[in-house]
Subunit: 416 residues, 2 copies
C-alpha cells in the first residue's frame, strides 16, 4: 500500500515509516522540521542524537535497501499540500504533522494561536486535498486521549448511546480538553468528522494515549533512533522522570500525582497505526480508536522509575511541585479501547521493560542530558497568560559546556 | 456600564449599540468592515442602504445626543486587541466580530480556512486580552444554535446530566455542526470554556437562533437602519423568501423543507444580549444561553411568507430545489431555553408581524433588490470542494443597471 506520512521526521512519524517499510508498504513523507526548531526555541534538544533527514534516508537505503519518498514543506501552504497529494495519490495518509506539545501551546498568546491555527489549517488543507486528489484514500488522523479530559464516566471510543429526557441518540462523546493544544486536536476531530460526512471520506481518528519508549524492532542502528524529548515542554512525564533519575535530580510528579492517563509502548503504537492503515473502513465512515494499552497514574510512573533506577544503583527521591497545569489531580478514569483489539492488536511491550530500556539508552546519552539539565523543571504555568520570561530565566547563567562526542548539536539541524 | 461591542458595524452589532445606548450604557465598538467587503465579494449588498460608519455615528450624535466610541481594526491583530482593551477596560464585552456565514465558509478551501482561522484567532486574542487587561470583565460571546446540529434528543443549554455505563456526570452537550462556519463557533466555545476554567473569567456563551427583522424601537430614522442581506451566502432563508416574493421569484425551501431551527426577532435578540450584559455571573463561570424564541420549519416560514405576500397582492409559488447543504431534511428538534426566561426575557415581537414589517421595508427598497436579483438562488454546494466557478457564473452577463436614488453603492463603502 502507498502510505503518506505527514510529520515523518517526528517522534512517531519516523519509526512508523520504518515499520511500514518493513511490512512491505511504500512510504512517502512530508515534514517542515519545525519540531527540531521549536525544541531549540525552548533551549532543549533530543536526548538521542538525531541525524539530518537526508542522513536518515541514506541509512534506510543502506540498511533496508529501500527508499523513503520525501517532500519538505508546510501543511499550512495549500499549494504544497495539494501538489503532494496530486503527485502521490496515496492510498492511506497518516496525519502526524501537528504542533504536539501542550505546554508549548500554553507559553503565551502567540504560541496558543500558532498551535491552533497551524493544526487546524493543516488538517483542513489535507481534507480538501483528499477530496480533490484522492477521495478514496483513508485518512488516519492523530488525535489524543486528552481530548476527552477526565469525565466521571467511562470514556467510549468517540461515540456513545445517550438517553436524555426520555429519548435516545448516538452522539459524539463530549470533549473537555486541558490545553490549547488539546483543544486544537478536538477541533481537528470536528473537521475530520464533518468532512467525512459531507464528502464521504474514510477516516480513522486515533485518540492516542501517551507513548513511551525510543525503540522499535526496526531501529537496529543508532542512526535510526527516533527522538527522545525530556524537557518540560516537549517531554512526557515519564521521559522527564527517567531523565531526572539519570541526572540525580528529584523526580517530580505535579501536584498530588494521581492524574491518570492511558499509555502505550512506541512499538505497540506503531502496531496500532499499521493495523488502522491495513484495515481501512470499507466505505465512507468516520471511526474513532482509543489507542492506548493501559492506564497509569503519574505516581505509579514515578514509583516505577524509582524502582528501576534502584536496580541501576541510582536512588532518586520523589518531590511534588505545585501542578503548573489546571487539571483534576484525583479523578475517575476508565476509557474503553476495544476497536483495536477487534483488529488483532496484542501488547508486545510492557511498561516496566521499556522503562529499563530507556534507562539503558539515556545512560549512554547522559552527556546530552547533562548539557540541558536546566530544562526539566516546569516554568510554563497554565494560570499565567505569559510564561516567556520564566522560560527564558531558567537558562543557566553561563551556557552549558558544548557537548562532544555522541550527539554534537550539528547533527540535529534541519539539513535534509 | 461600559460595554465593548466587537463587530459593531454588523447586523446585530449596530442595533445592539443603539439599544445599549438607549438603556444608558456607555458603548465602544470595534470593526474592520470586512462583512461589507465580503458581501461585495459575492456580488451582493444590503437591501437596506447602509451609511458609512462615520455617518452612522454622526446620526447617533444628532438623534440621541450620544457618542459611540470606535476603533477600526482587526481582531486577528493581537496588538490591536490588547491596545483597545488596555485603553478601554470595559466591564462587558459582546463579541460579535466573526465571519458569520455558513455558505461563505463552504465556498472553497480558502474560505473554509479563513473562517476558522479568523474566528478562532479573534476569540483567543480577546481571551488573552481580557486576562491581561480586564480579568473581571464579562464576556458575552456569540455562538449559534447550529453548534448542536439536530440530535434526536432535547438540546439543553450547553451542559447536561449523563448516565453512562452506571455512572453519572454533568458534561458539555455534544456538538454536531453543519458547516465550517458552525464548527468555528464550536471551537470558540471550547476555547472560551477552557479560558474561563484556567483563568476564572466570567463568560456567557450565547447559542443564538436565527434572527429575523430589520427594526428595533431605537431605529427611528432610515439612516439608523441595520443591514438586510438577502443573497444565498449572507441572507437567512426567511430573508431570501421575502426577497423572492418581492422580486416575483419562486420561494425556495431547500429539499424537503422540514429542517427546523430556533428563531428570534432582532429586537428580542437585543433584549436577550442586554439581559446577559446586565446580569453577569457573580464570579468565575462559563454559562450557556440558548437564545431563541420559537422553532419553525423552513416550510412554515415559506407558507407564512406566501400568506403575507398574498395580503400585499403578491402571489409567489413555492419550489423545492435540491438541498445544497448536507443536513437532515426531517428531524426531531426540541432545544430548551429557560435561562433567559429566568432573567426576565419576554417576547415582544412575533414572527408574523415582523414578516409584514420586513415586506414593507423591502417594498421601499425594491430597486436595490432588483439590481441584485441574481444572488438569491444557491450556487455554493456543501458536497463540492470548490464552488467559486458556480458563484462567479451566476452573475448576469450584462452588469445590473446602476441603481439611482436611495442606496447608491457609494453609501456602503467602509469609509468610516
Amino acid at each position: 500500500m502507498k502510505v503518506l506520512i505527514t510529520g515523518i521526521d517526528g517522534y512517531s512519524g519516523w519509526p512508523l515509516a520504518l515499520h511500514l517499510l518493513g511490512r512491505g508498504h511504500e512510504v512517502v513523507g512530508v515534514d517542515n522540521f519545525v519540531t527540531r526548531r521549536r525544541v531549540r526555541e525552548v533551549g532543549s534538544w533530543s536526548a538521542t542524537p538525531i541525524p539530518s533527514f537526508a542522513r536518515r534516508r541514506a541509512v534506510v537505503r543502506e540498511r533496508l535497501g529501500k527508499d523513503v519518498g520525501f517532500y519538505r514543506g508546510d501543511m499550512t501552504r495549500w499549494a504544497f499540500v495539494r501538489d503532494v497529494l496530486e503527485r502521490e495519490r496515496p492510498e492511506a495518509i497518516v496525519h502526524l504533522a501537528e504542533q504536539r506539545s501542550a505546554p508549548y501551546s500554553m507559553i503565551d498568546v502567540h504560541h496558543a494561536v500558532a498551535t491552533q491555527v497551524e493544526n487546524l489549517t493543516g488538517t483542513l488543507h489535507l481534507l480538501y486535498g483528499m477530496r480533490e486528489c484522492c477521495p478514496d484514500a483513508h485518512l488516519v488522523k492523530m488525535g489524543t486521549m486528552g481530548e476527552y479530559g477526565t469525565p466521571n464516566v467511562d470514556i467510549p471510543e468517540g461515540f456513545f448511546e445517550v438517553e436524555f429526557r426520555g429519548r435516545k441518540d448516538r452522539l459524539p462523546f463530549p470533549r473537555q480538553a486541558g490545553s490549547w493544544y488539546h483543544w486544537s486536536k478536538v477541533f481537528d476531530s470536528g473537521d475530520v468528522m464533518f468532512a467525512s460526512r459531507i464528502w464521504g471520506l474514510k477516516a480513522t481518528d486515533v485518540m492516542q494515549g501517551v507513548i513511551y519508549g525510543i525503540r522499535t524492532p526496526e531501529i537496529t542502528d543508532d542512526r535510526l533512533l527516533t527522538r527522545f524529548d525530556f524537557d518540560e515542554t516537549w517531554g512526557t512525564a515519564l521521559n522527564r522522570f527517567i531523565a531526572q533519575a539519570v541526572l540525580g535530580l528529584p523526580i517530580t510528579p505535579y501536584g498530588k500525582g494521581e492524574q491518570k492517563r492511558g499509555f502505550i509502548a512506541l512499538e505497540d503504537s506503531m502496531q496500532s497505526l499499521r493495523l488502522a492503515v491495513e484495515h481501512p473502513p470499507t466505505g465512507p465512515e468516520y471511526r474513532v480508536f482509543n489507542q492506548f494499552d493501559a492506564a497509569y497514574s503519574v505516581n505509579e510512573l514515578a514509583d516505577l522509575v524509582v524502582r528501576v533506577a534502584g536496580e541501576l544503583g541510582l536512588s532518586p527521591r520523589i518531590e511534588h511541585p505545585p501542578d503548573p497545569r489546571v487539571e483534576a489531580e484525583q479523578h475517575y478514569y476508565t476509557p474503553l479501547h476495544d476497536h483495536l483489539l477487534g483488529l488483532g492488536y496484542r501488547r508486545t511491550r510492557g511498561l516496566e521493560e521499556v522503562v529499563r530500556e530507556i534507562f539503558r539508552d539515556l545512560l549512554r546519552f547522559r552527556r546530552r542530558l547533562e548539557a540541558r539539565r536546566h530544562v526539566v523543571m516546569p516554568t510554563v504555568q497554565w494560570r499565567s497568560p505569559d510564561s516567556r520570561a520564566a522560560l527564558a530565566a531558567r537558562a543557566p547563567s553561563s551556557p552549558p559546556p558544548p557537548p562532544t562526542g555522541t550527539g554534537a548539536p550539528a547533527t540535529e539541524g534541519p539539513t535534509a
